[in-house]
Symmetry: C2
Subunit: 430 residues, 2 copies
């Protein structure tokens, strides 16, 4: 009896041409976008530790395994794919997140994880062929719960990984139905006990979520800073009353107080030059939320964002005057339950220069760009040398089922990230 | 061996004095207020078909049974206590509702049911002693889901009873967790198949939920009309977007549109004379309600109420101008998903006069008063001769754990309702 060889592609077989590699990436990307797909749309609903997130993680683990990467999960559900080329050496880590907002686009985060995987597959094949070129090992990461829609706050996986949040507190965080992170991770079998090896450098690529690169005809965004921000969680407290019979002058309406803050946040923008201030309230919860009861309590999240810390400071001052006026005029209490703020937060110039030079060598247009949104790289850059990249978003549409980036930009981004990972693995940032 | 007599009071034993009856009422009232009590407060949380509602109904059934009334439930969970004194004759029906808003006062509705029961107990004893005085039989009712907080709309039990709503549609109505009325009623064993007998007249007593009677020193409110109203369910539709990175001018923020409507509803009041218009938004739901997503859809309920139909019409016109302006300025769609309106709605003058004369004969101060809130009597008055009564609310506090009415007013109201039931049973309204 002869032994039948296994029909699977050997783990390290290099794709023969760049075109083959691009096609393989686009094919995997296409499969990937089906997990949590919202019927009748091109978008997805794949919140952290949902069933769809679990299914996608299992599929992704198989993909990593097929390419010779060993798959691990740490205690907060970050999913790692590791390839050791230089025994005992630190790892170049690259990735993003596969969770999504409810009814969102298929590119946000997911593109970063999939292009990181394929960048590592390509560089792995090169380094297997020429082991002397490797200074570091390769690792792909799918960060847990970057979006923060089901479990707050956002960037939970990288927060815990970088020591900015406590593991136990994160695991005990509940979703609106009272399910904890620990329970939700256990339900999809994605809570592990892996301890990550030493990380030498980090790279992440993401769709822009803005429209400046598309308008300027730029293919690769060299992210050089995060906008400054001040985020508030307000609690407005009034008093329950019959919403019909209570005299208007006797009411202390928490929803009216909250609505005044939502309107004021938008009006605040007009106190500054166009583009200098972004404000938002995306989440607002009313109690008791009954048709005939004046609300006694409303919780709302309100954000100020700007490229300029001076603008944030001035907007903050103006907002606090509004809070005092609403408190007085509506007769409600307004407390700041939580707030956090940060100044304009730069990425390392060495990383930006590495990315610029890689783009130049590949013949891709590039430009420095700031990110308004936070990313897992915002955490990582405080810990290790980090490169953060963007590809264009059509119309800047984001957190929306219609989010779109062209295949040619996805592929250019993959080429660029591959070059960045290649240089990082060779020790370009030390 | 001698047989030990049962220690319970015989079913029909008359309390010996008025004071005894008052004490018995206050004792039962005190027990009654414990069902669904919110710890550390004097209020209750006893939404329709909740466990607390079920426990209270079982206790109330025992109380009715003890006084010789037979207990029945109809298909929408209205709970009846019947006493037949004149075989085959129609019934005088009196009652209110025992369900509450979330974290509400213990008087709203519940006082009406308990005083109706005790009024019937007293009149029953009199008519058992002098059967010739009875023209009609006696029935107490605990209407299902008057509040409409868990299952919409409010007044569900009396809506179905009077044919203003379809039974099947009501039973299929779901709460925010997807539980139907039918399932919730079955869970507490309160869905029956009783068909009520012919009703000759209806009486209801309620706490005022306003403060005019307290201020004017009036003990008995003779309810002569319901305020006019126009109620809207709006859906504001914008577009999901990243709440940080999306340019302010590109946003179509459904929550901003909704907040503008909430603020405008309050400002509308100031276009009219003080007291002429009440407006409210008590319920507002945001989708996707995530911290970093501009909302794509907000549903809100908005009410206009006034003693004057002209004021309602003018307020309606002004509100529609605001809707058009917000649609334009915020770039959102605003649809009216549902609306209903009614003119000032009178109670029968015969009923008002009967109640006035009863108060006069008992030496109780009384005055005509309008109700802003709806009651089950609003349905019943369109079907049978109806008397609607108020007792004072301290400070007019309503739909609030602090709601309060003094014992002396509760007892005066009981005396007055007893006299009204006595006259109705004797055929005072035909």
């Amino acid at each position: 009896m002869t032994q039948t060889p296994r029909s699977q592609t050997p783990a390290s077989s290099p794709a023969t041409t760049q075109t083959d590699r691009d096609d393989e990436f686009l094919a995997d990307w296409s499969v990937h976008s089906r997990f949590g797909a919202v019927e009748g749309t091109n978008g997805v609903d794949r919140q952290a530790a949902s069933a769809a997130d679990g299914e996608q993680r299992r599929w992704f683990a198989e993909l990593l395994d097929k390419h010779g990467f060993s798959v691990h999960r740490d205690a907060i559900g970050n999913q790692f794919g590791l390839l050791e080329l230089v025994p005992g050496a630190p790892y170049v880590l690259t990735g993003s997140h596969m969770d999504s907002q409810p009814t969102a686009g298929r590119f946000d985060g997911a593109y970063g994880v999939m292009s990181s995987a394929h960048a590592c597959f390509a560089v792995a094949d090169e380094l297997r062929a020429e082991p002397s070129k490797a200074k570091y090992n390769l690792a792909v990461i799918n960060w847990f719960n970057e979006e923060g829609s089901r479990f707050k706050p956002s960037m939970m996986g990288s927060n815990v990984f970088t020591g900015k949040a406590e593991l136990e507190a994160a695991l005990a965080t509940t979703d609106p139905h009272g399910v904890t992170v620990a329970e939700a991770l256990d339900a999809i079998g994605e809570r592990g006990d892996f301890t990550a090896p030493e990380i030498a450098a980090y790279a992440e690529i993401h769709v822009q979520q803005g429209r400046s690169m598309e308008e300027d005809g730029v293919t690769i965004g060299l992210v050089n800073a995060t906008w400054a921000a001040h985020k508030f969680e307000f609690r407005v407290t009034g008093e329950q009353a019959h919403s019909g019979s209570t005299l208007m002058g006797d009411r202390r309406d928490a929803l009216l107080g909250a609505a005044r803050l939502v309107v004021a946040a938008r009006e605040l923008v007009d106190e500054f030059e166009p583009g200098d201030l972004h404000t938002a309230c995306g989440e607002l919860n009313v109690y008791p939320n009954s048709p005939v009861v004046v609300a006694s309590e409303v919780g709302l999240l309100l954000d100020l964002r700007s490229p300029s810390a001076e603008v944030i400071a001035a907007a903050h001052e103006s907002l606090m005057s509004t809070v005092a006026r609403v408190r007085e005029e509506v007769g409600v209490e307004i407390e700041i339950v939580a707030e956090h703020s940060w100044d304009q937060n730069p990425y390392s110039e060495d990383g930006v220069e590495l990315a610029r030079s890689a783009a130049e060598d590949l013949g891709l247009t590039s430009a420095r760009v700031m990110t308004v949104a936070g990313h897992d790289s915002t955490n990582m850059k405080d810990t290790v040398p980090t490169v953060m990249l963007f590809v264009p978003s059509v119309g800047g549409v984001s957190h929306n089922l219609q989010e779109f980036t062209k295949d040619e930009d996805l592929v250019s981004g993959l080429h660029h990230l591959t070059e960045v990972v290649r240089r990082l693995a060779a020790g370009a940032l030390g």
